[in-house]
């Protein structure tokens, strides 16, 4: 079939529903494990029980896990010949339909007038990044990133004298631990940290968010970065901030680091703090002569 004429709007609506209402399995497992690690009878254990119960209810009732359905961030990998303009239109239409269906809260506010557009569309809203690839099918990753954790996400410019952070991986470790401490319970931990080293202020933030799509149990192909991820994971959990900032043994559930080339003058460390509701979902569309096949994950 000629995929240039395909309208995927309904599939994008379903993708949004999946992301908003169904927490990925790896996140659930990590939350279960965290729950087992907290001391019985503590506020931390109680918080994780509530979180796990909420995840079940949201899936059962097809209602949002969190009322802040965040900024929808779409990463679209498309084959040669697809119209990104048409895909954008379909995604924006899907966002509006998903809002009507209460999968999304109306979340796009005009920064000048303060008026909520009411349908999750607006200037550069939702966020859509396109990547042409050599595959024949279409792959779409969606992340719903809430405002509470976005507000505690941050960017450091190294060297940072106050933290004794130089332009090396030890400096990265120091500023990331500082970011986790500063966030306390405000970003709805236990968190997943997406970290980008390098880039510019714009590309670093984008790269840091893209790390949040990685499964919790994947292994960083760069051994130095894999070691850094493990070290930050262990040390952040020694801070004792705990679920919701109630105190406890689980402050982060995962740490994912990537590096980008940078200017000689700049050394940024971008930290994307993601709440426990790390709502990601994906869609694969493959085409053959008979038609198309759609799979959600």
């Amino acid at each position: 079939m000629d995929y240039r004429t395909v309208d995927l709007t309904d599939h994008f609506v379903e993708l949004i529903r999946c992301a908003a209402t169904q927490l990925p399995q790896d996140m659930r497992q990590a939350l279960h494990q965290a729950r087992g690690n907290e001391t019985a009878g503590t506020a931390a254990e109680n918080a994780l029980d509530t979180i796990l119960l909420n995840v079940e209810i949201a899936e059962r009732d097809s209602t949002p896990i969190c009322q802040d359905t965040g900024t929808p961030i779409f990463e679209v990998s498309y084959p040669v010949g697809f119209s990104t303009r048409k895909l954008s239109e379909q995604i924006r239409r899907a966002a509006a339909i998903a809002t009507e269906k209460n999968y999304l809260r109306p979340n796009a506010v005009d920064s000048i007038s303060g008026k909520n557009s009411g349908d999750n569309t607006g200037e550069d809203f939702p966020t859509i990044h396109f990547h042409e690839w050599e595959e024949d099918g279409l792959h779409v990753d969606l992340l719903l990133k809430g405002g509470g954790c976005e507000n505690v996400s941050t960017q450091y410019k190294l060297p940072d004298g106050g933290l004794g952070a130089g332009r090396d991986l030890e400096g990265v470790r120091r500023v990331v631990l500082d970011a986790v401490h500063k966030a306390q319970g405000q970003g709805c931990g236990p968190a997943v940290l997406g970290i980008a080293i390098g880039g510019d202020r714009g590309s670093g933030y984008i790269k840091s968010k893209q790390q949040l799509f990685r499964p919790l149990d994947d292994e960083n192909p760069d051994p130095q970065l894999a070691a850094l991820e493990q070290r930050i994971y262990e040390e952040a959990n020694q801070l004792g901030i705990g679920p919701m900032g109630f105190g406890g043994s689980t402050t982060v559930l995962g740490v994912k680091v990537a590096a980008q080339h940078r200017l000689p003058a700049s050394y940024f460390v971008s930290v994307a703090y993601m709440c426990w509701a790390n709502r990601r979902a994906s869609l694969d569309v493959t085409f053959d002569e008979a038609g198309m096949e759609v799979r959600y994950a």
Partner: protein
């Protein structure tokens, strides 16, 4: 587990200690960034203007002895025009720190509900009032929506669904007291303890 019902007495508030788990019932009102800015600018900083008098009187009555919930819900509108909450977890409270103490005093609030805790100004207002800060579980929106039994009214809907002031009746709304009326803040404790750990890790 202590149960609170609005309007809440000063004695009930004083009996609560940071760390207690409570269940709240009764009528409360949601309010977040736009609502707090509005209340300060239109009701507290200047005499109430004639066009705002009806809303002011209504809020005075609703909030007296009650609580504000920092929440921007997902709301379903039914065919008959009534509303229900689909998802209704707390939003980050620290953004209201600049406004909260004045709002607590002006409207005789017995507490606020949110997440992430608040700062020294609000803690002081909690001591004087008395009032408490109740921490709901962030992100547990579908679960918390089950304790919102009825949406009674909405004000300032022109601010958009998340920012409007929704008048709701809750039953056994679960929360943790993280700032009490005796000057204790779990947030300040955790902040200080984790700062020590951080300093050791960066030594």
């Amino acid at each position: 587990m202590p149960k609170l019902t609005t309007p809440i007495s000063d004695e009930a508030i004083r009996s609560l200690k940071a760390g207690d788990t409570v269940e709240l019932s009764g009528i409360i009102v949601t309010g977040r960034d736009a609502a707090h800015k509005f209340m300060i600018e239109r009701f507290i900083k200047q005499p109430v203007q004639p066009e705002d008098e009806a809303l002011y009187a209504e809020l005075k009555k609703l909030l007296d002895g009650s609580m504000i919930y920092h929440c921007g819900p997902v709301v379903k509108t039914h065919e008959d025009g009534s509303y229900s909450f689909v998802a209704a977890g707390p939003t980050t409270s620290s953004r209201e720190e600049v406004y909260q103490s004045d709002v607590i005093r002006h409207f005789n609030l017995k507490g606020v509900i949110g997440k992430g805790g608040m700062g020294a100004k609000t803690l002081k207002a909690c001591q004087e009032q008395p009032a408490v800060y109740l921490h709901a579980i962030g992100g547990a929106a579908s679960f918390i929506a089950q304790s919102v039994k009825e949406v009674l009214d909405v004000h300032l809907l022109e601010f958009g669904v998340p920012e409007a002031m929704w008048v709701i009746r809750v039953e056994d709304f679960p929360a943790v007291v993280t700032m009490d009326s005796h000057g204790e803040s779990l947030h300040a404790q955790i902040e200080a303890q984790s700062k020590e750990k951080l300093t050791a890790l960066l030594a």
